[in-house]
Assembly symmetry: D2
Homo-oligomer: 156 residues x 4
């Protein structure tokens, strides 16, 4: 439903509701069961988070240097619906669900030809550098994030 | 609370309520943030599941050959409480929470000197080999599992 | 020297001497030393090998199904010259050095803005499926490979 | 031959010629080919290096804090002889081959029931912290290392 509301292009545009990157499945991503190893999807999801932060101007070195802040994963709730396999061309995406004072909540998905394989809710905590204590999401990033929120979702 | 009820030895005994293995943190487990990478804890948790299955007589090759079945992760709900760091000596454990017709639900924890760092609820689905369709947990394993269930928990 | 002799376009052309893909460095690729973990470069190099095989029409499922063959790494000689870091945009490439009866030898490199960070000589052995015994490189692939050999190098 | 000369116990003794740890193969170590992924052996070899440094009193945090030094892999020459598989119980070892002014050279092996699967020569460079420039191997470590050298090998 959230995606039906979106009227913006879906790929890597600053104003897009959902940010998506292509990910190819290599041997290193699979296990002896012949499928992608379950922890590896978290790697894929981390890639799209870093690419998104870079796309909106908050790549990691800059966040640390300019804002003395970084994100860590506080919780991950992952559902594995169908397996991906060697050689698959996947799309891995994120959508911002909520902006809290010191956290972001993301909806992340792995799809293959539009079919959902893995979905996750990822909660990121903002921490200060170098003390690693909870810190407020930098205002400039918060402002940028509001452009990514779904219309029905409001900042906490 | 569940651990207060336990009256059995906590380490690697067939009848133990909780199964625990030691895990050392190496460079490959960490990231440039100086902490263990969040997906790596899922690797640690998978190790203890495989060691537990081996300890109770259902190591993977045997399960496939004898029972034409294997487990896949169906969902993972992970909470990251505190970070582990390079060189840390961790304990990674599991306790069986529920036995369903075609699934097991586990409580898994990563601790350091008794302090909880990461906790997770992991849902495993039993699937048939080679068709990879949902399959009933083999009766012999189900029987063994009942010895691992907490007194207050009954098979679904 | 080998690159001075090349008169063909350098990027992803079927007739190119060198095949290159871009690779971004994410947290998952780094370690607590702040640099890319040394084994991770082998992951990067494996990605370009699979992309190259796909580009020339011998992606893994097809090779197995059509030719009952696959490649395994027989040896890897890797030199680490300079470290890559979080967020770096790398180029990872391969050039074919030699075609043997049952093997391929590749020169692989990781560069950043043209500067070499890691170089490797990777020897791949062709094995049969499902017996996993040494097998002759399929003739169709051998023919394609000759188009990738440097002028001064001849098939063994 | 080097091992025939050894007259000391082979496991984790300070004076042992060869330092060995057990490594179990889990799903995360394998790939869709059904074998251990080739880069994963470098993870195994790094584990034994860290365990050895800890066993002789030079675990990483201490080396950085006390000696302002750490090691990085400068080169890795790896031969893959036979594959390891899911569930295998491996032994991964190291023997010191040479001590240079700013480097150590190690012979590393992965065996299963005494059969060699993977062998490697790993060259480690000592670098200063935090400048990451080549640094002399700390004298205290050099002294300890001489106890690990084969009789026929002398410091460079």
């Amino acid at each position: 439903m959230e995606r039906q509301l979106s009227v913006r292009p879906a790929h890597a545009q600053p104003a897009a509701r959902r940010f998506t990157i292509p990910v190819r499945v290599y041997y290193q991503d699979t296990d002896a069961g012949g499928m992608v190893f379950h922890a590896t999807y978290l790697d894929f999801m981390e890639r799209v988070r870093m690419d998104w932060l870079r796309a909106i101007g908050f790549e990691i070195p800059k966040m640390v240097e300019t804002h003395a802040a970084m994100f860590v994963v506080r919780s991950a709730n992952v559902d594995y619906l169908k397996p991906a396999r060697l050689g698959d061309a996947l799309d891995v995406s994120l959508a911002l669900v909520r902006i809290g004072g010191a956290q972001l909540v993301l909806d992340q998905r792995v799809t293959r030809s539009g079919e959902e394989l893995v979905t996750a809710t990822i909660q990121l905590a903002c921490i200060g550098v170098p003390d690693f204590r909870p810190a407020r999401v930098p205002e400039a990033l918060r402002l940028e994030c509001t452009r990514w929120l779904a219309p029905e979702v409001v900042p906490a």
